[in-house]
Symmetry: C2
Subunit: 404 residues, 2 copies
């Protein structure tokens, strides 16, 4: 299993497990995160109007309890979306069963699902799986990371340690989500656990700001899932002084959380369905931040740009066209465009027009596995970065017959 080579520590007081309970044929399909101590929690859910049952359930839990979360139960294989009243009952029952087995209050359990839409969870299997998973709770995060995968080909983990007032604080993130052209089924899940002690408001603001520049810049085309969620749990066992907004410790901790999210977001793109390359779109000197974000996302999500990069074809006109339809308002006559990678950097258009460039060199630049498209707009001070994968024949093959 790739990704497993990374040495990952685990924040104090947390345990994880991942087992096979029978939703999928063979692979692990049920994971639990558990904390010995009550956690402050923050979460960001999909903006899709069609929300899966576990998300509807979690929103209700977090309305009444943001400071005493103890566990998250996640299944893969079935999304529990478009499942009506029965789906909501099953989400609740999943939390109840987890609480019973762990001996904690029901309202301290969050639930999450990913998989096929419109199918009910097989509750008997799931409940037996919860019993089994609790027996396997331990300090190895890999079984959990495996249990939340769907079409992912690699587990996605990242850990960061940071010193806060002399105390070592650990942030561990585990994510899934492979189809990042459009997320398949279209689910992107990310669970962060940390032993930091932090005020709930501070945790919330850190998570929101970080998600905006990471997962929200890879989920580039609005093809957001019914099930997308990012959750962070902080149990305070690191013993640091409680973190409050806009303090030095806050920014240090932000930086740690943001690194974890950035790395996980990149790993999701790298594992894009059938993807061979990561495309990093950097928009510089935009008139304002909203425009920079729109333009970066439009370029990173353009099928024409994706296929051109896959074909290692310096078709910069498609980049300009995508900027033009992004909805941002700007002067196209000022744009400079560079292609960049480990093999070098080449200016291919200047002041909105094509210029002669070295085709051989650009083809070499585009042959890298990480290709950067740098659009210097020369009309302001805002910037934004978005990530996409290329679009390949393999993507179509994977997604053409997903259910069968």
């Amino acid at each position: 299993m790739k990704g497993a080579e990374e040495e990952v520590g685990i924040p104090k007081g947390f345990k994880l497990a991942g087992v096979h309970c029978g939703i999928k044929k063979k692979r692990k399909d049920l994971g639990i995160v558990y904390s010995e101590a009550p956690c402050v929690a923050a979460a960001v859910f999909t903006t899709n109007l069609v929300k899966a049952a576990p998300l509807i359930y979690d929103v209700e839990v977090l309305k009444v309890n943001r400071t005493n979360i103890r566990a998250i139960t996640v299944n893969s294989g079935v999304a529990n979306a478009c499942t009506g009243v029965q789906g909501l009952k099953n989400a609740k029952r999943t939390a109840e069963k987890t609480a019973e087995v762990l001996g904690i209050p029901t309202e301290s359990v969050l639930v999450s699902s990913t998989g096929v839409i419109g199918v009910q969870l097989p509750m008997e299997k799931l409940e037996r799986g919860i019993e089994e998973a609790v027996k396997h709770l331990g300090e190895d995060p890999i079984p959990f990371a495996e249990a939340i995968m769907t079409t992912d080909t690699k587990i996605k983990l990242h850990e960061r340690k940071v010193l806060l007032g002399g105390k070592e604080v650990t942030v561990l993130g585990v994510a899934k989500g492979s189809g990042m052209i459009h997320p398949n089924m279209a689910t992107m899940l990310s669970f962060l656990i940390t032993d930091a002690r932090i005020d709930p408001k501070a945790l919330e603001s850190i998570l929101r700001a970080s998600v905006d520049d990471t997962y929200n810049m890879i989920d580039v085309d609005g093809d957001t899932s019914t099930n997308d969620m990012v959750v962070i749990l902080a149990n305070g066992l690191a013993g640091n002084v409680e973190i409050h907004e806009d303090t030095d410790e806050y920014w240090k901790f932000f930086e740690a959380v943001h690194e974890v999210n950035t790395v996980l977001a990149r790993k999701i793109v790298e594992d894009g369905e059938g993807a061979t390359k990561v495309i990093e779109v950097v928009v510089l000197h935009a008139p304002d931040r909203a425009s920079a974000r729109k333009i970066a996302r439009a370029i990173a999500s353009s099928n024409l740009v994706k296929t051109a990069i896959y074909g290692e074809d310096a078709n910069w006109g498609r980049v300009f066209a995508a900027a033009g339809y992004s909805g941002a308002v700007f002067d196209p006559g000022k744009l400079d465009l560079y292609f960049e990678s480990e093999h070098g950097r080449e200016l291919v258009a200047m002041n909105g027009e094509g210029i002669p460039f070295n085709e051989v060199k650009v083809r070499e630049i585009l042959s890298a596995s990480l290709v950067r498209i740098v659009l210097d707009m020369k009309q302001g001070n805002a910037s934004a970065t978005a990530w996409g994968s290329d679009l390949t024949e393999k993507y179509v093959e994977i997604n053409g017959r997903y259910r069968t």
Copy 2:
């Protein structure tokens, strides 16, 4: 050449030509439409902020002259987009040359281009081509239809006759645009010519309304070209009483123009790059028209829906997910979803939830070349239809190496 089997008449007083002038290696690349009598003109141009030089030029012409247009010169192979001051000069020179050769005023000529962005037009070849094309002007629209093609595999023509006060009026449309997942390079061109006599305001309002429900519902994902344009010329030689807004004749003529646009829009989708199926998305009983349009377009443009239909996989959850992220606000708990084709019709989800359905029958339904996705929202009286093609491995192949 497919499409040529269709018998096409030509409106009175128009002549067309299509020749090879050397922009492309072998295929025809220059077309001219000419009218013996002055035409009332209306046009709709791309909403892309990055507009090609011919569009910028035409907008200026139409500001001062909407009643004496005599010709349109169109080239394929080079888009004349992102070409700066020289590009604008070349667009103007194309009009001047056409005017010289035809012996008409420069301001009675419109120009149009499609092809690669960022390359200057080879003006010597183009000017010689204009001389050549004028010699070939005649009543066969097929050479013109061929001359405006890029990655199109079929010519796209449709003609409709309508009686207005006892006078026979003809509307002929010629279009190009194959990449309709995202239009390749991303150009969609459509030229309509008619011998109707019509007031300029009436012509304008007819064109706008019709484009909104045809080309704008296939150009589904905002990946609009720098070069997209739809133009209609009406020379009045049919001898009908001048058409004014909101009269019976107006609506009869609207219907004729709309049929031509609808058929051409469908032909564009059918010829989508690598497409094997047309997906028609019908949204019924939506809360309002704007929501119906958003939802229909989101579904028709979803890569996940496109690949599922290509794979003949009844993955209706992806349809609900696309509706959910469309930006429209609605109650997901009321949605019914049908798959429909010449092979029958099957309800697959009801009141926002999946229901048991006949997998074998649905697979048969999805095997048709025209698949209809009918979303009955049961929460209002608005409706909308959008069209998309499926997404295939072939699309990626075509677009991965377009320039080379």
